[in-house]
């Protein structure tokens, strides 16, 4: 059996994993929302810029992105990041690229009549987005965003490669020290990862309920047309 000390090590590793995931999610969500809106903007330059961003950051493997941020930025630009900063930057920009596409699809799925009704009550373009389109689009974004977030949480194990003591790194340590059997260690790690992902799922569900008020969630936007 794992000793209390060993368990504590795993817990502190899990805490790092949660932090990396949470910070990445914040960065990724912001980029996704901005990117989703920008990819539908009237400005060609903005659309083009978003396209390039999405293709690059989606196309590059997360681990190379992480190494690039952590090892190359100091050499090229003299920018030194802590492992945690490098982790959330790499995973956040990566998540933002995927998320932009999700956000774009969700915004496009909102019936055009909603924007027209918002124009008929003379809302500014910003208010149309903020009060009419986005609140409805967010409901459509949430399920795929939940998936993405779980992907990011699992990908956060990559930060163990840049010496951040996350859950995976701690597990490797314990195994090297032969402090417990691999079976014990990795079963514990498996359970911990699952608990984190289950919490994400429950959290996203709660958000869906919160934002889905009035909307026929699951059956599309029933109230939108007719």
């Amino acid at each position: 059996m794992l000793s209390t000390g060993q368990l504590q090590q795993l817990f502190s590793g899990a805490w790092i994993t949660i932090q990396v995931t949470a910070y990445s999610a914040v960065i990724g969500t912001l980029i996704a929302l901005v990117g989703g809106v920008a990819s539908l903007s009237g400005s060609r330059l903005l659309r083009w810029f978003t396209r390039v961003y999405v293709e690059i950051f989606r196309g590059v493997s997360a681990i190379i992105l992480l190494f690039w941020v952590y090892f190359t930025l100091p050499q090229l630009f003299g920018i030194f990041l802590t492992p945690l900063q490098a982790g959330m930057l790499a995973l956040g920009t990566n998540m933002g690229a995927y998320g932009s596409e999700i956000a774009r699809g969700a915004i496009q799925a909102i019936p055009k009549g909603q924007t027209e009704a918002a124009i008929a009550i003379n809302l500014s373009p910003f208010h149309r987005l903020r009060h009419v389109v986005l609140p409805q689009a967010v409901v459509l974004m949430l399920p795929p965003f939940g998936n993405l977030l779980i992907e990011v949480m699992k990908a956060s194990a990559l930060v163990s490669l840049i010496d951040l003591s996350d859950l995976t790194e701690r597990a490797q340590n314990l195994r090297t020290l032969r402090a417990a059997t691999s079976l014990e260690i990795f079963t514990a790690v498996l359970v911990l990862y699952f608990l984190i992902s289950a919490s994400i799922t429950l959290g996203v569900r709660a958000l869906e309920r919160r934002f889905g008020r009035g909307l026929d969630v699951g059956g599309g936007l029933g109230g939108a047309v007719k």
Partner: protein, 278 residues
């Protein structure tokens, strides 16, 4: 609008202008709009007087809805000028020249107009009350409490009191449309546009919406443009009926004359076809 951007107004008056009693509330000056090869507004000229209730009839695809959509700035005309309350909608004067209007100018002039749609387009994520207060609070800057108070009065007006906190999904079509009318009224527009507002309703729900429209037409001095297939209703509340086809006005006149003795064969055949169904 590139072709006409720098041209002066046809009557040579200064742009922007001052609203005056003689001026029409709405004026179309050679307005053209085409979707691909399909010309839906073909050099349209027409005027609506302040307070007038204008009924627009015509076969589907004749462009009558486009008149309303161009006025609401949902579609941009290809060429021509539109004035609302004596001000250009799509143009503004800058340095003595008439140029394409800024978003700010369009928004200001658009504030005089609101619209009710065939398919309601209520905001499904907002309650009935929130649907009505959103525009006044965000676009007019009315304090929330005041907006709420006014919304309650409007809900009474359309016979929807006691439904404040419901979401649109729980309402019938007729109820949704009455809320949509209240939402448009909350903007205190000078001009109201009604785009086939009863066409998407079950027959037994048409009456309640027409009742609200009738009240508005008879008891307010708002200028109203109604695209409708309800000929009986048009006859009752319309000051003038315009028959529209192929992007042009075929014929216009007071309802009594238009419905009983239309001059144009096209109007006659359209009315025959429509009235046969009633």
């Amino acid at each position: 609008m590139a072709t006409r951007e720098n041209e002066p107004t046809s009557d040579g008056e200064s742009a922007g202008g001052r609203p005056s009693p003689e001026r029409p509330m709405v004026r179309f000056d050679s307005v053209t709009k085409a979707f691909g090869d399909n010309v839906v507004l073909d050099g349209l000229d027409f005027e609506v007087a302040a307070g007038e209730k204008l009924v627009i009839i015509g076969p589907s695809g004749s462009g009558k809805t486009t008149i309303l959509r161009v006025l609401m700035t949902l579609e941009r005309p290809d060429s021509g000028m539109i004035e609302v309350g004596g001000e250009h909608l799509y143009h503004e004067e800058r340095g003595g020249k008439l140029v394409k209007a800024s978003e700010k100018h369009v928004r200001r002039v658009r504030g005089k107009i609101s619209m009710v749609f065939q398919h309601f387009f209520l905001f499904p994520h907002k309650t009935v009350l929130e649907n009505i207060t959103l525009g006044p609070v965000k676009a007019l800057g009315v304090p929330k409490d005041e907006a709420r108070e006014r919304a309650c009065k409007l809900l009474e007006l359309v016979g929807m009191e006691g439904k404040h906190d419901q979401y649109p999904a729980s309402l019938s079509g007729g109820q949704k449309q009455r809320v949509a009318i209240a939402r448009a009224l909350a903007m205190q527009p000078k001009v109201m546009l009604f785009d086939e507002v009863t066409s998407a309703l079950d027959p037994e729900l048409v009456g309640e919406v027409l009742g609200v429209l009738r009240d508005l037409a008879l008891n307010t001095d708002m200028t109203m443009l109604l695209v409708t297939h309800e000929m009986g209703f048009a006859k009752e509340i319309g000051d003038r009926v315009v028959m529209f086809d192929n992007g042009r006005v075929v014929e216009e006149g007071p309802p009594r004359q238009m419905f009983s003795q239309p001059r144009e064969a096209r109007t006659r055949s359209f009315l025959d076809a429509v009235l046969d169904h009633e």
